[in-house]
Amino acid sequence: MSHHIVEAIDLCHCYGDGTQALTNITFRIHHGESVALVGANGAGKSTLLQHLNGVLLPTSGTIRIGEVPLVKETLRDIRRTVGMVFQDPDDQLFSPTIGQDVAFGPLNMGLPPADVAARVHEALERMEALHLKDKPVYRLSAGEKRRAAIATVLSMTPDILVLDEPTSGLDPRARRQLLGLLKAFRHTKIIATHDLDLVLELCPRTLVLHEGRVKADGSTREIFADQALLTACHLEKPLTMQGCPKCGGIP
């Protein structure tokens, strides 16, 4: 199962205007791991995510998906392996109906129509969104849009799921529903988020980014217990790890 491994070696990215967004990022994520990418705004999370399926290419350093280095020639295979769920579902859903949007990826993979239809059905069912199949995007609530956006990626049966802020803008019930669905996935998951309570529930491992560098990489519980590190990286403990404001006790 080595093709589920995600590896960055001395990855650097410098934008056209000279902004150094990532500096010497190195990590290795193994098959089936669920890893959170946390950091303040502008820490480089989205830039790093965009490297994982070639939306951006490294200025220097290497990204490897499995044993395959990410270069222009390998983009097609890597994009099939790494499913990317964008931060704003409105950017991800562009077809007239949700069903057509979920079919977009499998159709581009050249699958026969019967297989495409089966994958659309399966992906929507898995995201509890089968009833949205014939609906246009603008009729959906934020939670429905988010589930549909994930279905558009699941239909390509990726081995690795990359999610950018999956719970932003969701009400508590929609967030809880999404959390339950994500928990059931066996994929290798990389989740960039500010929702640290989600990280506690879903990701045993956390990478902390600060000013384009990896500040910490390790057990989520240990990292979140390190107050000095969190403060230095402009982060706060998740609510469930904060003491009761009255008695100071942790539930």
Partner: protein, 269 residues
């Protein structure tokens, strides 16, 4: 700016209609595109003063709209968008061409009015057929048909993207105008504000379009339009196309309203 938001929903409605399931929707998009092209060709080939001969051509968009369950009110609204162009193009005809060509009772009709009417009719007919085509085929279906008919892929992708960009543009414009309106204290948009707003809109839509393009690339888009429905050109499609082409040819060669008028008035004598 609820109005613009509504327009956006209206635009989306046309796309949603295109993905319905009906006999007409299931026809090969190529048959529908070719029939519409033949229709436009036949309509535009009429002389500049011809009005009566154009009227029977209404049958094409009207019958397709009925069979494809395209709501009449919706169709009229869309055609209404083409009317300002008609006015702009033909407004000077009645002024420039004052030769009386027809006498309807005491009312003299000049060549200018006839040519204006003829042009308006041609534009309305072609606009109606184009709206109905998209409503029963979807824009992606039309693009796929154009590609399969031999149009270079780069043009097809441009048309598809232009269509998608319209949505992005309207959506972003609606957001910006809503934000302005909430703080405008009832003042109308001035030309001074318009410049920066338009510039900002371009930059915002540019960014958004780029993100959408990235999302498409991330799901394997390589410049080709794929559709779940990819029918092969069958007997039904050939019959649809053939029957309409014959109808257009007959209606082009035989002036049906004139013929009926002659028959009726001949019968009365």
């Amino acid at each position: 700016m609820a109005n613009l938001g509504d327009r956006f929903r209206d635009l989306g409605r046309m796309d949603t209609m295109g993905s319905r399931e009906s006999g007409l929707h299931r026809l090969d998009p190529r048959a529908k595109v070719l029939a519409t092209a033949a229709f436009a060709l036949a309509v535009s080939s009429f002389g500049r003063y011809e009005v009566a001969g154009l009227l029977p051509f209404m049958a094409f968009p009207v019958s397709l709209a009925i069979l494809g369950e395209v709501p009449g009110g919706y169709l009229l609204k869309r055609i209404g968008l083409a009317l300002p162009f008609v006015l702009l193009l033909g407004v000077l005809n009645p002024v420039l061409d004052r030769e009386v060509l027809l006498q309807v009772g005491p009312l003299p009709i000049t060549g200018g009015w006839l040519s204006f009417l003829s042009m308006a009719l041609k534009l309305v007919l072609t606009a109606a057929s184009a709206v109905v085509l998209v409503a029963i085929t979807s824009m992606d279906g039309v693009c796929q048909a154009l590609e399969r008919l031999g149009m270079p892929q780069v043009f097809v992708v441009q048309i598809g993207f232009l269509h998608r960009y319209t949505f992005v543009l309207v959506e972003e414009a609606a957001r910006m105008l809503r934000a302005r309106e909430l703080r405008s204290n009832g003042h109308d948009l001035t030309h001074r504000e318009f410049g920066p707003l338009a510039g900002h809109l371009l930059l915002r839509t540019w960014d958004r379009a780029q993100r959408i393009h990235q999302a498409m690339l991330a799901r394997g888009f390589e410049g080709e339009v794929h559709l779940l429905r990819r029918p092969s050109f069958g007997l039904q499609d050939a019959l649809f196309l053939g029957a309409w082409c014959v109808a257009f040819l007959v209606l082009r060669l035989v002036n049906l309203p004139l013929l009926m008028g002659t028959l009726v008035s001949g019968g009365a004598q």
